[in-house]
């Protein structure tokens, strides 16, 4: 099958509408980030180099810092758990919930939870689990997957959302005004927050010195989820540790600006224990689950720099391949440049199945330039391509560069491929022996290929910019 790899298939099949949503959303993010960062700092490069070295230092001494964080949290009445694998993490969380008799909870956006497919698991086990981030909630209603780290529904427009709300009974009629959509969600959630018995969150950072974990949101959903419930569980990747509270100044200043062009997200919450005795609201019990799930393998690999990642999404916004293909093309929790590195190695044993991702880059270097922790993503992609070669992974060896990039640079090849893509609709990709792809396809079918959409888009774009 002429070396066409799954990511190219997606890039090709994405609808015009979806692609416009992704391009508009990601380019707006890039511009805002650039403007804000450079307005506020004469030399933002210094700051991100500093952030990189703090992260590297922590990762080089991760055992010490992780133990210190555990101790700090335990001393403050937090129960600390460890989970080696995704299955361990799911079971640990389930048993905590059962221990507290929880049957209903809300969950704020957590990439770690996405990574282990926590939500469907809990629902299967009889725990009602509501995503409270507006974007994630819509994803949940649609049985979809987030396509961007920071803007999970970057690929959807208001009309689709309004239809979903009507279909799922969040609203009784169709209304696609964004303000109305938001108000309806507000009403829907308030009851749920008050009924819930627990909240699950991720964490953006955990300070080893005091155990203080940081949650950054704009909507206030994790804050609201936490205020009325007795149990808080935080699922945290072990790479989220930083040495001291004072280092937060570096990371928070970079995170908001890189993610959404804000100095700080609206709510930055610092938590290191159950509510204080005088406080009537808030959890009596706090659990932190530190999860490995492949991270220690990454730490031992020649791509360990990727563990510096603070999940800001800036590399996705700026990446030409991401913009054209959308996050779903990466077929795993993490899309874009970060995903092209992290997904194949994080899901280590699955490397062969995602080995096309590191090739889905023109190595233009934009991702490294915007990365707030200076991750040399293009270098890491090359190392992974090399790994694919050494391990003789067949699909990766078929074509020397990403067929997408290859095709995109040759108009005649592109046209041929486009004509052929109609035939691609009949590819039995659902039955392909690709585990992550099967998971991903569990709830959906591939969009039909409308060969030529991309060319049309390119042409429009050229016209628009010329």
């Amino acid at each position: 099958m002429i070396g066409i790899q799954p990511i190219d298939q997606y890039a090709r099949d994405i609808s015009d509408e979806k692609q416009h949503s992704v391009i508009d959303g990601s380019s707006a993010g890039t511009e805002k980030r650039y403007y804000v960062l450079h307005k506020d700092y004469p030399d933002p490069d210094k700051l991100r180099k500093l952030a990189a070295s703090i992260k590297d230092h922590t990762l080089n001494h991760l055992g010490d810092y992780l133990a210190k964080a555990e101790k700090s949290l335990t001393e403050r009445g937090v129960k600390v758990h460890f989970a080696s694998t995704d299955e361990d993490a799911r079971q640990t969380i389930l048993s905590i919930l059962r221990g507290h008799g929880v049957s209903q909870l809300t969950k704020s956006k957590s990439m770690a939870a996405e990574e282990i497919h926590l939500n469907p698991f809990l629902i299967e086990n009889g725990v009602e689990c509501l995503e409270s981030d507006l974007g994630e909630f819509i994803i949940q209603l649609d049985g979809d997957e987030p396509s961007h780290i920071v803007k999970p529904i970057i690929h959807k427009n208001r009309r689709e959302i309004a239809r979903t709300f009507q279909r799922e009974g969040v609203a009784t009629d169709y209304n696609d005004d964004p303000e109305t959509i938001t108000r309806r969600a507000r009403v829907h959630f308030r009851k749920k927050y008050m009924e819930a018995q627990a909240v699950i969150t991720g964490a953006n950072f955990v300070c080893a010195d005091t155990g203080r974990m940081v949650l950054a949101t704009n909507e206030g959903n994790s804050r609201f989820g936490m205020a009325p419930v007795p149990v808080h569980i935080a699922l945290v990747g072990i790479e989220k540790i930083i040495p001291e509270q004072k280092d937060l100044a570096v990371f928070l200043n970079l995170l908001g600006r890189s993610a959404t062009g804000q100095q700080l997200t609206v709510y930055t919450e610092f938590i290191n224990g159950p509510r204080s005795a005088n406080q009537p609201d808030g959890p009596d019990h706090m659990h932190v689950v530190f999860m490995d799930n492949g991270r220690t393998d990454v730490l031992a690999s020649n791509c360990k720099e990727i563990l510096r990642c603070i999940r800001c999404g800036a590399c996705q916004n700026v990446c030409p391949v991401y913009r054209q293909a959308s996050g779903h093309a990466y077929r795993s929790t993490y899309g874009g440049p970060i995903g092209a590195v992290l997904s194949p190695i994080l899901f280590g044993k699955r490397f062969p199945e995602l080995a096309d991702l590191p090739k889905a880059s023109s190595l233009c270097g934009a991702c490294n330039e915007v990365c707030p922790v200076d991750i040399p993503i293009p270098d890491l992609l090359l190392r992974l391509r090399d790994k694919a070669k050494r391990e003789e992974i067949p699909s990766a060896g078929a074509i020397p560069m990403s067929p997408f990039a290859h095709l995109a640079t040759s108009p005649s090849l592109w046209r041929t491929a486009m004509t052929m893509s109609k035939a691609m609709n009949h590819l039995p990709i659902q039955v392909a022996p690709i585990k992550p792809l099967q998971d991903w396809l569990g709830q959906r079918t591939l969009p039909e290929s409308h060969g030529g959409d991309f060319r049309k888009w390119m042409k429009n774009r050229k016209n628009a910019s010329g």
């Binding site: 949503s21 700051l47 460890f82 080696s84 938001t182 203080r212 704009n218 804050r223 204080s276 031992a300």
Partner: protein, 202 residues
Amino acid sequence: MSRAAIFAKIESATSVLKTKVPYPDYDMSLVHSAPKLEGTDLWEIFSRNFSAVNGKPMNSVEQLIDFLKTNNQLRGYCDPALYDSIGGALAAAGLTVETEYDRERFEDYQFGITRATGAIAESGSVILDDYKTSHRLAALSPWVHVAVVERSEIHRTIPDAIAAFGDSPNIIWCTGPSKTADVEGILIEGVHGPGEQIALLR
């Protein structure tokens, strides 16, 4: 079991490193944003940055009463510790002010007035924490949240505010009203938390 396995794997990954990156010795002024810090009066700097994120800084109780009346937010909660200085004046002006927050009636409160632990001038954030907030929900569920800020508790920079964390188990910085841009990148305020965030100077 998982714990030991994880630590063992970390050990084997990091013990082979020939060099380890030392903890960088850095100067906090590197993270200060000069344009954000322009000015001398901390309340003024705060007000500018807080307004830029659609927060509403206010200097007087009269201003607050005016705002609540104009926006038809007539019933709410006030921390009993603030009743003499603020809540009483609101009641005298005809607003309904409760000093007990009843969770069962959480939808009844249109405004909530609680004490802030401080503010950050550089970022335009109000700081709340478990010790000084009488009810987390009262600061969160009403459409209007009024954080009462003492002038002496305004920190100049983000690092200053971090250095002042203390031992409260829950601290939260509110940098404007709750918002989302999930739907087509269009900014909408008041998603889950307050749609109006006010800082009242005392």
